[in-house]
């Protein structure tokens, strides 16, 4: 009927044939039709607890009985973890308790920095006041202190290092922000990747607003914090909860770790170089630029850098790779039909 299930063509044809027969048989009353219908799936016998544990740890459920056992488990799990799942403005988080104090585990890109006032809304609509503590922007985790007094719900903290590929997980959060009348939607999925460093990957579909929300294992322990997504629906990335546990004291004291800058800065001549047919052209050389002081003029065409012929953007970047910001690079430019040698300073771009 629809595309995408080529392997099933034979089976599908059989199913459709059956459907066609049921529909075509003329003059049948509803009572008679019913007798030809496939039997409803029986309420299957309970499966062994060991088998359920096996499935939850990463096996595929093989039949209806196993699905039913799994469903019961997931329904109980959702009810258990929902109270601890909270919303922050435009984002999510999860309540935990440690040494008698309540905290929210969250993502660094949500709380950003320490000492911010954070409004927290529980699933039942109750509001709490919190203050952001530390944040680590390298692995996108952060901590919020709950200032409101009282006995707040809390989820257990698990160990992300013990996760295995294929293991079933449950994710909660508030996609597109908290909506009145809607509890944090639960999503079921599996662990696709447990890297030694970096993000956990699952196929629990997330969306903006889920950030900071919890990823639970099948025992209801927080094992990850929702962080980011990409175009592939099966690429949902969560910060491993170990990143918080290992740095608990630093985060609690308000330490903020900035993200590492990736790679080295891009090097340029500090003036605009346009690429088109043939050699790149210096389209604009402002008077006060270092390049102008070195003798470069507007309209010069770049022929050579450090003894290498230049014909593309790639070759320019290739030569820059051997230099550092502040160094002088010998170049040859074409001007008025002749070649001119210049020594131009290298500038860090962007």
């Amino acid at each position: 009927m629809t595309t995408g299930q080529n392997r099933l063509v034979g089976a599908a044809a059989a199913a459709m044939l059956m459907a066609g027969l049921a529909a075509q048989d003329p003059g049948q009353g509803p009572g008679q039709t019913r007798s030809k219908l496939p039997p409803p799936p029986a309420t299957a016998a309970a499966i062994a607890p060991e088998r359920l544990a096996e499935i939850l740890a990463g096996d595929d459920p093989a039949n209806l009985a196993e699905l039913q056992a799994m469903q019961t488990h997931v329904q109980q799990l959702v009810a258990k973890v929902l109270p601890a799942t909270v919303s922050l403005p435009g984002a999510s988080g999860v309540l935990v308790r440690r040494d008698g104090t309540s905290y929210v585990l969250c993502a660094a890109h949500v709380t950003m920095m320490a000492d911010r006032r954070i409004n927290i809304t529980l699933n039942d609509g109750k509001r709490l006041r919190g203050t952001s503590l530390g944040a680590n922007h390298r692995n996108d985790v952060s901590l919020v202190h709950i200032d409101s007094l009282g006995d707040h719900p809390a989820a257990e903290i698990g160990k992300s290092a013990e996760l295995k590929r294929g293991q079933w997980v449950l994710m909660l959060g508030h996609p597109s922000g908290k909506k009145q009348g809607r509890s944090a939607p639960a999503r079921l999925g599996r662990i696709l990747r447990v890297p030694k460093t970096g993000y956990l990957v699952t196929d629990c579909t997330m969306q903006a607003g889920d950030s900071g929300g919890p990823l639970f294992d099948m025992q209801g322990r927080v094992v990850g914090i929702n962080s980011r997504i990409n175009a592939n629906l099966a690429m949902n990335m969560h910060a491993p909860v170990d990143a918080i546990v290992n740095e608990w004291d630093d985060l609690r004291k308000g330490k903020v770790t900035q993200a590492r800058r990736r790679g080295r800065p891009r090097l340029t001549f500090g003036v605009e170089l346009t690429y088109g047919e043939g050699c790149p052209v210096f389209a604009d050389v402002p008077k006060d630029s270092g390049a102008a002081k070195a003798g470069l003029q507007k309209g010069d065409r770049l022929l050579e850098m450090d003894g290498t012929d230049i014909h593309s953007r790639w070759s320019v970047q290739r030569v820059f790779r051997d230099f550092r910001s502040g160094e002088i690079i010998p170049i040859v430019v074409a001007r008025d039909g002749g070649g001119i040698e210049l020594k131009v300073p290298v500038v860090a771009g962007d």
Binding site: M1, T2, L8, A11, A12, A13, A15, M16, G20, A22, A23, Q24, P26, T33, L37, P40, P41, D60, P61, N63, L64, E66, L67, Q68, Q71, V74, Q75, Q76, P89, G90, H109, V110, M112, N119, G166, G177, K178, K179, Q180, R182, A184, A186, R187, G189, R190, L192, D203, T205, Q207, A208, G209, D210, S211, G212, I229, N230, A231, N232, L233, A234
Partner: protein, 346 residues
């Protein structure tokens, strides 16, 4: 300083741009893979007799759900989309296996985005409804006539009203800014309340507002029809207004009623239905479907039909109208159709 909500959005958008161009919407091979969907085979046997594909001018547009031997409900907006310019009703057919029936549009409900079709000389098997709503976390399957379901997922939340409240404003700067109004939409709630372009919103429903993202988040928690107190700063003075929130930023255009603007994250959302909000009561589940896979039934593990998939509404959400809602709609549309000539109002 960047505000929390927009940063969350921004990061997702950046990641999206860093990856290769969007390939086809892929199902996870793990949670939605063959090995898992296979286990659901017995749950879709019965419902497969009641699912059809709905074609307009020969193209398969959506799925349909048989509710009586010759009646099929489907998703209205996907039927008319292509022919809107021609202003001509498309010729509708329904298919199941090798059989094809000509269909006529008996009636429709724009708010629910439901169309009711009558199939000529059809004697199909109607669905068996499941009226009780299962507990959150219930396992669901979406059949399409094949041996294994098209997709599987879980019920994410109890049924809720999927509407959005709008104040009828736009901001100059999307992020990192005070909530200064760049536009006050005509016919919008803000215009009616007396807000002007240039006003800076400083308080909304008793909450201090510093950033545009905070205001957005607060509006998102409201329902259309809510009366809220708004404080704005205008020419150095603070003024108070009462606004009654509306249902959309602009009056509905035909075929596009209530569809909210996309949020700039199109790349990471996959294919979404054009009409995907404004429903009275919806079940939200995490089954990944394409817009053209809507209109068909969604079953629980008992094999009974819990509702009709009505929209692919986000990267994370597929929405279904509950069985009771569909039953009521069918009744209403049949009663209306009995009073007028068939096909009128298309």
């Amino acid at each position: 300083m960047t505000s929390p909500g927009t940063t969350a959005l921004a990061i997702a958008a950046v990641i999206a741009t860093l990856t290769a161009p969007l390939t086809a919407q892929r199902l996870s091979t793990m949670s939605q893979g063959d090995a898992v969907r296979k286990a659901y085979a017995s749950t879709v046997l019965r419902a497969n007799l009641s699912v059809l594909s709905v074609h307009a001018d020969g193209d398969q547009r959506v799925l349909g759900t048989c509710v009586a031997p010759d009646l099929v409900v489907t998703k209205l907006s996907e039927l008319s989309a292509k022919d809107r310019l021609a202003k001509k009703a498309p010729s509708l057919t329904c298919k199941q296996g090798k059989e094809t029936w000509n269909a006529t549009l008996l009636g429709f409900d724009r708010a629910s985005d439901i169309a009711l079709l009558r199939l000529k000389d059809a004697k199909l098997t109607p669905v068996e409804w499941q009226l009780a709503i299962p507990k959150t976390g219930a396992f669901l399957a979406t059949p399409n006539g094949e041996k294994w379901p098209l997709g599987v997922g879980i019920l994410g939340a109890s049924p809720y009203q999927h509407t959005r409240a709008f104040l009828g404003i736009r901001f100059a700067n999307a992020e990192d800014a005070r909530a200064e109004l760049a536009e006050v939409v005509e016919h919008g709630a803000a215009r009616a309340a007396g807000l002007l372009v240039g006003d800076v919103v400083v308080e909304f429903a008793g909450d201090k507002i510093e950033w545009t993202s905070e205001l957005r988040a607060r509006i998102g928690q409201c329902q259309p029809g809510d009366k809220v107190a708004i404080k704005v700063r205008r020419d150095g003075k603070e003024l108070s207004f009462i606004a009654t929130l509306g249902t959309n930023n602009s009056p509905p255009r035909s075929g596009q009623n209530n569809s909210p603007p996309r949020s700039g994250q199109e790349d990471v959302w996959g294919d979404l239905s054009v009409v995907r909000s404004g429903f009275q009561q919806v079940l939200q589940h995490d089954t990944v479907l394409k817009p053209k896979d809507c209109g068909g039934p969604v079953v629980d593990l008992t094999g009974k039909v819990l509702g009709v998939n009505i929209a692919r509404a986000g990267r994370v959400e597929t929405l279904a109208l509950p069985a009771a809602t569909v039953q009521k709609l069918v009744k209403k549309l049949l009663a209306a159709a009995a009073k007028k000539s068939p096909g009128e109002g298309y």
